[in-house]
Symmetry: C4
Subunit: 218 residues, 4 copies
C-alpha cells in the first residue's frame, strides 16, 4: 500500500464526528420503535394499564439502552474533542464502534421481549461488551500521545480509559452473575454498579501515575 | 469526583446542539411509521376513503405530535442559543429531554390506535408532562444567570420559562378533565388552550419583575 | 405578543437548515422500510423474480418519491441559500413543510400497495399538492425582498417561484386526469410532465418582468 | 435552460455533504430494524441460542452491509473532500447514489431472509453493482480536473477511481459465480476478494500513468 498516497486527501475529523453523531442519534431514537403498541378491545381504562404493564420490560429496556448509548456518545464525544487532527487509524475502529452502537436496538428488543429467559440478557450483555471494547479502542487511539491537542493531560487520558475499562469490568461481573444464578432480570441490576466500578478504576489508574505528572486543575 | 479533571476536555455546545437536533428530527419523522397502511381489496375508490377514515385518529396523532415536537424543538433551540458557553450541567438533563422526545412516537401510536379508551390518552398526556418538565429543566439551566450571552435579558428568560410552565399547566388541566369526564378524545381538545395559558403566565411572570429591569426592545 | 421580546434571542438560519436537512434525509431514507420483503419457500430462483415482480409497485413508489423528495430538498436548499439572515416568519411555515415531507413515506406506501385502486393514488397526489403548496410558501418567504442576500436577483426569485408553481400545476393536471379516467396508475404518468410545465411557467414569469431588470449572467 | 440563472444561487458543497452523510448514517443504522427479534417460549437458555442461530443470516447481512455502506461512505467522503468548490453537475448523480445507498437495507433483508435461494443474493449483488456504478460516477465528477483543490494529484484520482472499479469488478465476478454454481451463499464469499481486486486495479492504473507525473509523497 506504500505507493497509494492515502493521506494526500484531507479527511477531516469534523465529518467523522458528524457521521458518528448521526449514527448515535439514530440508534438511540430507533430504540422506541421496538416497543410494541398494545391494542385494547374495551373502553375500560384498567385494560390500558394492563397493556402498559405488559410492555414494562420494553420500557425498562428503552430507558436502560437510552442511558447506555447516551453514555457512550458522551465518551466518544469527549475522546474526539481531545484530538488535534484527524488520523486515518481511527476510521475503521470507529466504523466498528458504530456497528456496535447501531446494533443495540436489536439487542434491547431481544432482551426485553424475552426477559423470562436469561439467554437474551446474556446476548445483550455480550453486545454491550463488544460496544465497550470498540469504544475503548477508539478512546485509546484518539487520546494516544501525538494525536491530542496541546493542553490535553495524561490525567485526563487515564481517566477516560479507566472509565471505559469500568464498563467492561461491570459487564463481565454481570455476565458472571447471570451464569451463576441463571437469572437475567436480577443480575442485570448489577449494571448499576458501573459508576462505582468506574470510580475505583479511575482512582487506581491515577494513583499509579508518576508524581512528575502535574496534578489536575480540578 | 473532585480529582477527575472533567472540564479539562472542552465539550462544546455545538455538538450537543447537533446531537439534540438530530434526535428531534428523527423522532418527528418516525411519527409517520406508526400510521398503518390500509390494504384495499377492491378497485372502488370509496373503499380507499373508508380506509383513510379508519386511520383518521393516526393522522390526527401525527399532526398533533408533529406540532408538539416542533414546538419543543423551537424552545430547545431558543434556550441553547441564549447560552454563551457549554456547561456540563446540561448534559444529563438534555439526555433525559431527548429520551422524552424520542418516546413521543410510541405514546402517539398508543393513543391514536386506542382513541376509544381514555387510558392511552392519559398515558400520552403523562408522556407530554414528562417532556415538558424535562424541557423546563433544560431551559432553566441554559438561561440561568452566568450561562447566558451578554445581551440576554431577564425578560426573555422569564418569557421562556413561563412558556414552558404554560405547557405543564395545560397538560395538567387536560389530565384533570380526562379524569373528570373519562373521555380521552374530548378532553384532549383542551390542549388547544396552550397558547392562551402560556400568554397568561408570561404576562403574570413579567408583571412581577422589578421595575429596575430594562423594558424589552420589542 | 408585542411585549414579548422574541427577536432578542438570535435564532440563526443555520440550525433551521440543519434541522430541515435532517428531516428531509430521514424521510427520504425511511421510504425503503415501506417495501415489504418477499419470503420465498423454495430454492427456485424463478420464485425470487416472482417475488420481485410482486413488489414492483413499491419499487416504483420508492424511486418516484425519492426523486420527489430529492427535488423538494434541492428547492428548499436553494431558497434558504438565498437568504441573508434568519426571519422568525419562516419557522412555522417550515415546520408545516417538514410535516408534508415526513408524510410522504406513508402516502407512497398507501399508493404502492393499492395501485389497483385509484383512491390511494389521488391521496398521494393530494399529499404532493400539500407539499408543493407548503414549499411555495417557504420559497416565497425566503426569497421575499428584504430577506435575501445582496447579489440575489429578481430573475432567480421568479424562476424559483415558477418552478414551485410548476409542481402544483402538474399535480392538479394529474388529479384531474385521475378523476376523468378513474385510473390511478396511468394518470400518475402525467407527473412526468413536470419539467415541461415548469419550463413553460418559468418562461412566462420571466417574460413578464420589466425590462429594467438586469438580464441573468447565464 | 440557458436563460435560467441557476448558478446565481450559491449551492455550497457543505450542505450536499451534510445531506449525504445523513442519508448514509440513516441507511447504515436502519439495517438493524430488518433483523427479526426471536420470541422464546421457555426459560431454557438453549432456546435463546437456537433463536440466535435462526437469525445468523440476518446478522451476517447486517455486518456485510454495514461494512459495504461504511466503505462507500469513506469513498464519498474522500471524493468530496478533494473538491475545491461545488458544481451543480454533482447534484443529481449524488441523489442517485443516495437512492442506491438507502436501498441497501431492503436488499440486505431480502437476501438474508432467503439465503436458501440464489435469486435474492443475485438481487443484492445487482443493487450493489448499481451502488458501485453511481459511486464511480460521483467520484469521477468530484475528482475531474478543474473541480479539485490545488494540491490534488492525478495519482490520488487514479487510485480512487481504480478502487471504485475494483468494487464493480468484484461484484461482476461474484454475479458470474452465482450463475455458474447457482449457490448464493457460497459465491457471496467472493466479495471478500474486493481488497485484492482493488489493489491490482490501483497498481495497473498507476503503472499506466505518464512518467511526467510527480510521484506520490507517500
Amino acid at each position: 500500500m506504500s505507493n497509494v498516497p492515502e493521506d494526500h486527501v484531507d479527511h477531516p475529523l469534523e465529518r467523522l464526528m458528524f457521521f458518528s453523531d448521526a449514527v448515535f442519534a439514530i440508534a438511540i431514537t430507533l430504540l422506541v420503535i421496538e416497543i410494541k403498541v398494545p391494542h385494547l378491545h374495551t373502553q375500560n381504562p384498567a385494560e390500558a394499564w394492563e397493556g402498559v404493564r405488559g410492555i414494562l420490560p420494553s420500557l425498562f429496556g428503552y430507558v436502560l439502552s437510552f442511558l447506555v448509548i447516551g453514555r457512550f456518545w458522551i465518551g466518544h464525544h469527549t475522546a474526539l474533542q481531545a484530538m488535534e487532527h484527524h488520523t486515518s487509524k481511527l476510521i475503521w475502529p470507529n466504523i466498528f464502534l458504530l456497528m456496535a452502537v447501531a446494533f443495540m436496538p436489536f439487542a434491547t428488543a431481544f432482551m426485553a421481549e424475552n426477559l423470562h429467559n436469561s439467554g437474551p440478557t446474556t446476548f445483550y450483555n455480550l453486545a454491550l461488551l463488544f460496544l465497550a471494547v470498540c469504544s475503548l479502542r477508539v478512546v485509546s487511539i484518539a487520546t494516544a500521545p501525538g494525536h491530542t491537542r496541546p493542553g490535553f493531560s495524561e490525567t485526563t487520558r487515564r481517566t477516560m480509559i479507566a472509565r471505559s475499562m469500568g464498563v467492561i469490568v461491570t459487564v463481565l461481573i454481570t455476565l458472571a452473575a447471570t451464569f451463576a444464578f441463571t437469572s437475567g432480570g436480577i443480575s442485570q441490576m448489577l449494571l448499576a454498579l458501573m459508576p462505582l466500578v468506574q470510580r475505583v478504576l479511575i482512582k487506581l489508574s491515577l494513583s499509579r501515575m508518576k508524581p512528575a505528572v502535574e496534578p489536575a486543575e480540578a
